[in-house]
């Protein structure tokens, strides 16, 4: 038995490198390997690549991270930090050498800015920039300044020199809520503010921590960014539509809908389509990955999807509790169907009157009837 165990350990060492680093940080070997396997699943990789992930995470060449925060509510930082227990994912980011992150770093003021500049200089082209929050462009970017410099100025410097920039949340990805109409500060996402930067977008409100960790793990394991869609989002997390992976989808196909909050269908967990759920127009892995250590997600808790991971969701996905947007130029109570019915009725009325007049009108001449 003992011999077998030794052999097993030997094999494990061969496959997954030497233990030690993670135990020191309070993560058991078992949990670490479970994490590596979960990451391979999140990235839609074959499980045979889990050892490679483990190897990459244990190597010493972990890149520095600069976490910038601009026009944001810190919701993405909160999503990462507020996990009930310290997760392996959190530690991955911890050991990433987070050199600068305003919310969690001990240093403050000039000391903090020095840490950022040091990383910029010493690790140029090798660090990962994580950006949270939109970047205001109007009036030379005066509407968001850190340490006396504008957000766009800092972003150009930091994201421009980074190996890669990961935007966490919809604001950093596409401008999000600060960019909602009328967008008083001219807020945009990182890719628009720094067109030359290598950006991978992780929209969502907030970002799903699992997707952030998986993206970092992908970069560490393969040395490159994961494949993305046309909106710069990694396909492993945004490649499928919410509606198609939703646990309430059978109720949609069956024809069972919540008609009113709190009705029998709502209590029975039926489809939220009629309550304005934007699952059919939103691409994200919420139904499978879920939030807060896979506890739940909006539709799971009985509220429709707000489409938060799509660009300009605040303008295009509203009203959140209706299927269709308001028709431009009409009041908010004029739904598309009311207007459409009005168009049809007006047409019928106009031609009805035309018909009556035509019927009473005598003396119309047609050359068709008068042959010869």
């Amino acid at each position: 038995m003992a011999k077998n165990g030794d052999e097993h350990d030997e094999m494990k060492q061969h496959c997954f490198g030497t233990p030690g680093l993670w135990e020191e940080r309070g993560v058991s070997r078992r949990d670490f390997l479970k994490f590596c396997t979960a990451m391979s699943a999140a990235l839609a990789l074959p499980v045979s690549l889990a050892p490679r992930i483990a190897e990459a995470l244990e190597s010493d060449s972990r890149p520095s991270v600069i976490w910038l925060e601009f026009q944001s509510c810190t919701g993405d930082t909160e999503a990462l930090l507020r996990a009930a227990n310290p997760t392996v994912g959190e530690i991955v980011l911890d050991v990433l050498s987070v050199d600068y992150a305003e919310t969690i770093m001990a240093a403050a003021g000039h000391q903090a800015e020095e840490a950022r500049l040091k990383t910029l200089k010493e690790r140029s082209g090798k660090y990962i920039a994580v950006v949270e929050g939109a970047i205001p462009m109007k009036d030379n970017g005066v509407y968001c300044c850190v340490g006396g410099r504008s957000a766009v100025d800092i972003a150009r410097e930091v994201c421009g020199g980074a190996m890669a920039t990961i935007t966490v949340g919809t604001c950093a990805s596409y401008g999000g809520i600060p960019a909602a109409s009328p967008n008083p500060t001219g807020a945009v996402g990182v890719k628009d503010a720094v067109p030359g930067a290598t950006v991978i977008n992780l929209p969502g409100c907030p970002v799903n921590t699992d997707n952030l960790v998986a993206t970092v793990v992908h970069i560490l394991t393969f040395g490159k960014l994961p494949a993305t869609d046309s909106k710069g989002r990694p396909l492993f997390a945004y490649g499928k539509r919410i509606h198609d992976n939703c646990e309430r989808r059978p109720h949609f196909d069956a024809g069972q809908y919540v008609e009113q909050w709190g009705d029998q269908a709502h209590r029975a967990g039926h489809c939220l389509y009629k309550m304005g759920c934007k699952g059919p127009e939103t691409f994200h892995n919420c139904p499978t990955q879920r939030y807060n250590e896979k506890t739940n997600w909006p539709v799971g808790s009985g509220h429709g999807c707000a489409g938060c991971s799509e660009p300009h969701f605040w303008d295009t996905m509203t009203p959140f509790y209706r299927r269709l947007p308001n028709v431009p130029g009409f009041g908010v109570e004029a739904t598309a169907d009311k207007i459409g019915l009005g168009v049809a009725a007006a047409t019928a009325a106009a031609f009805g009157i035309h018909g009556v007049v035509s019927a009473l009108r005598k003396g119309d001449e047609s050359d068709a009837g008068k042959e010869g």
């Binding site: 024809g255 069972q256 299927r323 269709l324 049809a344 047409t347 035309h354 035509s358 068709a368 042959e371």
Partner: protein
């Protein structure tokens, strides 16, 4: 009026593809509108989760959509392959002087400003121009419809082929366009049936029956 009946003869105007695509379009638009209403604003008709009410409604909607698309494509082809009454020139009367004159005459008649009812053998010029708009609307409906359907397979061929549409519309804007397009087609149908009836009565050219049989009474020499 009946003096020279013998001078009229039955002229074959609407060929089979013209009439066939017309009636496929009629059927498809009715089926698509009814199912589309349900898809846009469904009622709870499923009793148990194993039912497939919305599923079947969507199957019917998509099938009708494909039939409609084939019909539109066939009719566009026939605008180049068919006789002169089916040809593309019928739908752009505004590009040649005679067409513009006929459009003006028809318009004056509609506005009760003229008592003379123009009597063309094919489409009346104003109707031809209207059908151009209707065809654009058809293409918008088919394009947005397939684009919305293609969202379930982001890497799929249809999603890739229709990529320009996703750049043109916001996601919700595409849904709104598809929905409002239906109302515009319903309004068109009301107008279309009325005008056909009006012309049948006033023009006395047998337009109503011609879409069934294909023949119109035409004077010799025309």
């Amino acid at each position: 009026m009946a003096r020279n009946r013998s001078c009229l003869y039955e002229k074959y105007v609407w060929e089979v593809p013209v009439r066939l695509t017309h009636w496929v379009n009629v059927t498809a638009i009715i089926v698509l509108s009814v199912t589309g209403f349900y898809i846009g604003s469904p009622k709870t008709l499923g009793l148990v989760p194993a039912d497939f009410v919305m599923g079947w409604v969507r199957v019917v909607h998509l099938t009708a959509g494909y039939a409609f698309a084939v019909s539109i494509a066939s009719r566009i082809w026939w605008a180049f392959a068919g006789n002169r009454y089916a040809g593309w020139r019928e739908f752009v009367p505004f590009v040649y002087p005679e067409g513009r004159r006929d459009m003006g005459r028809m318009f004056l008649y509609y506005l009760f400003l003229s008592r003379k009812v123009p009597h063309p053998t094919g489409h009346n010029a104003l109707a031809g121009a209207t059908y151009l708009l209707v065809f654009v609307l058809y293409l918008v409906m088919a394009g947005t419809g397939f684009a919305l359907d293609a969202e379930h397979a982001p890497g799929g061929m249809m999603r890739v082929l229709l990529a320009p549409l996703y750049a043109l519309f916001s996601n919700q804007g595409m849904r709104l366009t598809h929905h409002m397009g239906m109302w515009l087609l319903i309004a068109f149908a009301i107008h279309h049936i009325y005008s056909a009836w009006l012309m049948d009565v006033k023009e006395r050219g047998g337009v109503m029956s011609s879409i069934f049989g294909g023949y119109k009474p035409v004077k010799r020499g025309e």
